[in-house]
């Protein structure tokens, strides 16, 4: 009997997965797209609205929420790149020179990212509490005790520090893997030509890490744009204090489920489509720019 003689049975195997995936993933996504082109009265479709819902995103009151939220997502991304990914790279380079305890160190650096972001958020809320938190009681002798998450000035930088603490192991592991793929002869050859270790790092190691950096950048971008559970735990659905930690994910949640607007469905669907187009488009763009030569 030839392979695949009873071809029809192949389709039978596909049916359960097709049904499940089409009904609960594909159908909602595409329906969501169509929702954004109608105006809504609660859950009743009111009429074709063209791009009115999209225009609504740019109207005064909504834009006043959208722009700061988007700005905070970008600041998170910038902070992640500057703090988390730079540290991750530094740790990877440092670890490549360590012989004993390397695995133990890597495990300890990476452990926080096993923990649910919601748990991380609540944990740090307690640790940073101005009254009973251990962080402030340690900082008090230094005169640095303050409501880190309660002050609009320091709230977002604090979120960046917490994100870094949770995720630094991830760029570290990626960079470590990339570093171990660089033949040691490259550095040795440069050194015999009289290059110092900084020169070796800047001129040889760093350029060879470009593909890994592209990967880390793109994943950090997607992560920063999609952040939700951590900021929800730290500042609630309004991005407390005073909206200082508001981000796109929270704004979408509020618009869809807590705005009380009759057209909530239209506006939030338009916002969802905007977010998807924006994040997906930017990711493609980043991909092109960062991988140009690689």
């Amino acid at each position: 009997m030839a392979l695949g003689a009873r071809r029809g049975s192949s389709y039978l195997f596909l049916i359960p997965a097709l049904l499940l995936y089409s009904a609960f993933v594909v159908y909602p996504l595409f329906t969501g797209l169509t929702y954004s082109f109608f105006s809504w009265k609660g859950t009743l479709r009111d009429g074709f609205a063209g791009v009115d819902n999209y225009a609504g995103l740019l109207s005064g009151t909504f834009l006043d929420q959208l722009l700061p939220a988007l700005g905070h997502n970008f600041l998170l991304f910038a902070g992640t790149m500057l703090v988390q990914n730079t540290l991750g790279l530094a740790f990877a380079v440092a670890l490549s020179r360590v012989r004993r305890g390397k695995r133990a160190l890597q495990t300890m650096f990476a452990l926080p990212y096993l923990v649910n972001p919601l748990v991380i958020g609540y944990l740090w809320t307690l640790l940073l509490s101005p009254t009973f938190g251990p962080v402030n009681s340690l900082l008090k002798p230094l005169g640095l005790a303050m409501p880190w998450l309660g002050d609009p000035q320091t709230a977002l930088p604090t979120v960046i520090v917490i994100t870094t603490w949770q995720w630094v192991g991830f760029p570290m592991l990626l960079f470590s893997a990339a570093l171990s793929g660089i033949p040691p002869e490259y550095g040795e050859a440069a050194r015999t030509d009289g290059a110092g270790s900084w020169q070796v790092f800047w001129r040889i190691t760093l350029p060879l890490l470009k593909p890994a950096m592209a990967t880390v950048t793109i994943l950090s971008f997607i992560g920063s744009m999609g952040t939700f559970a951590l900021v929800y735990a730290l500042g609630g659905s309004n991005g407390a204090p005073a909206g200082a930690t508001d981000v796109l994910g929270l704004l979408f949640y509020r618009t869809a489920f807590a705005s009380g607007d009759v057209n909530a469905l239209g506006t939030s669907s338009a916002l969802a489509v905007f977010m998807f187009t924006f994040i997906f488009g930017s990711t493609l763009l980043l991909e092109r720019v960062l991988r140009r030569k690689a």
């Binding site: 009997m1 695949g4 071809r7 499940l20 995936y21 969501g32 440092a94 919601l118 969802a272």
Partner: protein, 267 residues
């Protein structure tokens, strides 16, 4: 000198990395009054865990989460396994189209379909039900599962199907008796990889669940933090209980995770 400085830096950061988790575990073993008195100190007992488990309905949350995760992972892995078999091993019209249809789901932002999903479940009477959550998670796991399992099926030796066919086995018998035992390692990978995001998911239950008795851990945790605001010992115990299953899973499954990753990458 420099090597020593690097070492101090690395171990110093490792301490910073671990300290919050240590404080979490230690504080969960101390009464709240002692934590307020002295933020860091020696553990004394498991009272907080008893309280979180009984007074704060953690028992309900944990059981709900466990039921949802187990059912969703099994359903998702089951349907994906069935689909991956013909996609990876059999010739039929539209095969590459079907594969692309499934796998493209890995890039789709599933959260953005949440409103239509809400109304779909409402029309099925599945809002505020654990079954609804199971269906969502199982469906969401299909793209990744199909991707990994198809790759795995593809690299099994071809002689297997031929031998089975010579023995007169039809496609279902071949699948059940020949293929299923062989894909167990890939199945383990898929199960481990889906467990974590489903256990941690906060968004869908936040939107879909209202009934306190049906909450899973993440949303339960938000209620718990509202109720027990000033009872820090119990709060810490709740955080630890939410985290422990994942740590246990990772300790038990490190080998599957590594094996699965490399299997998915190299083929």
């Amino acid at each position: 000198m420099r090597a020593l400085a690097v070492k101090i830096l690395l171990w110093g950061y490792a301490a910073f990395s671990m300290a919050p988790l240590l404080v979490m575990v230690l504080s969960s073993l101390r009464p709240t009054s002692e934590i307020f008195d002295q933020p860091l100190g020696r553990p004394t007992g498991f009272g907080n865990y008893v309280k979180a488990w009984t007074d704060a309905s953690f028992s309900t949350y944990v059981v709900n989460s466990a039921v949802v995760v187990v059912c969703a992972v099994l359903l998702g892995a089951g349907v994906s396994l069935l689909a991956a078999y013909p996609l990876g091993r059999r010739e039929f019209r539209g095969r590459s189209m079907f594969a692309a249809y499934f796998i493209s789901g890995m890039t789709l932002p599933a959260h953005l379909g949440v409103l239509p999903l809400f109304y779909l479940l409402e029309s099925m009477g599945l809002v505020d039900s654990l079954t609804g959550l199971v269906l969502i998670y199982a469906a969401g796991s299909v793209p990744f599962n199909v991707f990994v399992l198809t790759a795995f099926f593809r690299q099994l030796p071809h002689e297997l199907d031929e031998a089975a066919a010579l023995d007169g086995a039809g496609p279902f018998a071949t699948f059940w008796h020949v293929m299923l035992p062989l894909v167990r390692p890939a199945l383990a990978t898929v199960v481990v990889f889906q467990f974590v995001p489903i256990w941690n998911d906060f968004f869908y239950p936040l939107v879909l669940m209202r009934d306190e008795s049906k909450l899973t851990l993440p949303v339960g945790l938000t209620h718990f933090f509202g109720q027990f605001q000033n009872d820090w010992g119990t709060l810490f115990a709740g955080l630890v209980m939410t985290t422990i299953p994942l740590v246990v899973l990772f300790v038990l499954a490190t080998r599957q995770i590594v094996a699965g990753l490399t299997a998915g990458m190299n083929r």
